[in-house]
Symmetry: C2
Subunit: 296 residues, 2 copies
């Protein structure tokens, strides 16, 4: 039951040189612990795994495992351009106490299917943890074919899929994905603005960016979706719609960085070349957060 | 006159762990020296800069500068996800004797224009070398707007553009790009299969993958294109068409790795997850190389 319910993907606060600010990370993580999220993905794309050194990733995972305790597992990213580096990251994460691995097919030279398959097989064999396929074509620029999903499903350690949600998902969409994999395989979705629909359509879990900062709100949406309460999902989505619009126009990453500051949790610095939102954009985020339902 | 004529982009031979094989690199580079290419781009995308450690990039650039001598300048890639790392790479390259910097807007989180601009400004300020904008959307997933090109052109150290060539380029296409930049700015093209047309249309230089392994052939095409000899360009392109087709279907990187082995130059190993071509694909490369004009 590692991959189920709400998997929250927080930011990883660092200084400008990329050194993780452990006290700030703990402030972020304690909110997730208090809300009782089902797992924490760290560092995910929002946690800037691609921009952190091996050593800083290890520090962040160790701190998260210690802070969250045994009831909230940490699922750690092992994404890297080189297979040997991805294996090292997975081994580091296992030693640091992570209970699962997220693996995105990071690429520079576009990957062929056989290359992606062997990459997953090598990382899966390097650890004894379950591995989640982290499909995020917007950042990795790799598209999984159904045939590749099926082949990856034959690897015993590949236990879950993190897939971008689409608009107006139906039960058939989730069932079709699930049919590509073995029994007990977990199918989850990212893309917060379509997550409620994905949960109503039968997804096992939501890999949530907003859940990394506003976990009570995300827990409410997760529970309603998993329980099939479509009216409640629609109501929450309507309240969250202004935030979803900001996520889509400014990127969820930049909005979460601004929100952490606006909410007084911490003042995280993005690694250059990434810049924070400008003043007018931050004010829009502030207005939207003020109007959010009082769940957090 | 750093950015003109033929800029050859060789492979960077390494072992499986990513340690540069200096003797093999020297064998590759001596062919370029003998053919008298105008500059060498190392490590470029074909030189796997994205997969090499900082230390191995430095070793490769130092060896290339020593091997090529003062007449053939080395233009070194400083592409990195983080601005601080890109600045370090540029500083390393300058210390190692490179005479120019290639800078691709490598991204994971998609970049905004202001972020890309500040990234270029920071790297340009970190060294006293001219910087070439390395536009390669197929690997970096960043598209430059004309407005961003214009703004980058205001930075005094930005001296050249490496732009993907299009089919059937006209003089107006190159002139329109050139008009975005100051006088004496060099406009060059990548994409070997359209390079002859780009040179005929007035490009200052060709950033060439095939030139990194078959430099005499690439020099012949460069001279013909720069001299406006459209019949000779068409003749060479017709002879090269089977190779261009392999580049487009199998990627120029993988084809060049196979070709280095087939030609007996070295037996380079791609870093996993990248795999060499399979046997049938390699045989196709071998057949095409056998039928190449006897220029190399």
């Amino acid at each position: 039951m590692l991959f189920h319910g709400l998997s929250a993907f927080p930011i990883t606060p660092t200084d400008a040189r990329g050194v993780v600010d452990i006290p700030a990370l703990e402030k972020v993580l304690l909110r997730l612990k208090q809300a009782g999220v089902d797992s924490v993905g760290l560092p995910g794309s929002t946690g800037l795994y691609a921009y952190l050194s091996r050593e800083e990733k290890r520090r962040a995972i160790e701190a998260a495992v210690a802070c969250l305790g045994p009831d909230i597992p940490v699922v750690a990213s092992a994404g890297a351009l080189r297979t040997d580096e991805a294996c090292q990251l997975a081994e580091d994460a296992e030693r640091a106490g992570a209970q699962g691995i997220l693996l995105a097919p990071v690429s520079y030279t576009p990957l062929r299917d056989e290359e992606a398959f062997q990459h997953y097989a090598a990382v899966a064999q390097s650890v004894s943890l379950p591995v989640c396929i982290y499909n995020n074509p917007g950042t990795t620029h790799f598209d999984f074919s159904p045939a590749l999903f099926q082949r990856l499903g034959t690897l015993p350690q590949i236990a879950a899929l993190k897939q971008p949600a689409k608009a107006e998902m139906q039960k058939g969409d989730v069932a079709a994905l699930r049919a590509l994999f073995p029994a007990k395989f977990a199918v989850g979705f990212s893309g917060d603005w379509h997550a409620g629909g994905a949960l109503l359509a039968g997804a096992d879990l939501w890999f949530s960016v907003v859940g990394g900062l506003l976990p009570k709100l995300a827990m409410a949406l997760t529970r309603a979706g998993r329980a099939g309460e479509s009216d409640r999902v629609a109501e929450l989505n309507q309240q969250l719609e202004p935030l979803w619009q900001l996520f889509q126009s400014l990127s969820s990453l930049r909005v979460m960085y601004a929100a952490a500051d606006i909410l007084g949790i911490c003042q995280p610095v993005l690694p250059r070349p990434l810049l924070g939102l400008d003043k007018a954009e931050s004010q829009r985020v502030e207005q939207v957060l003020k109007a959010m339902p009082d769940l957090e």
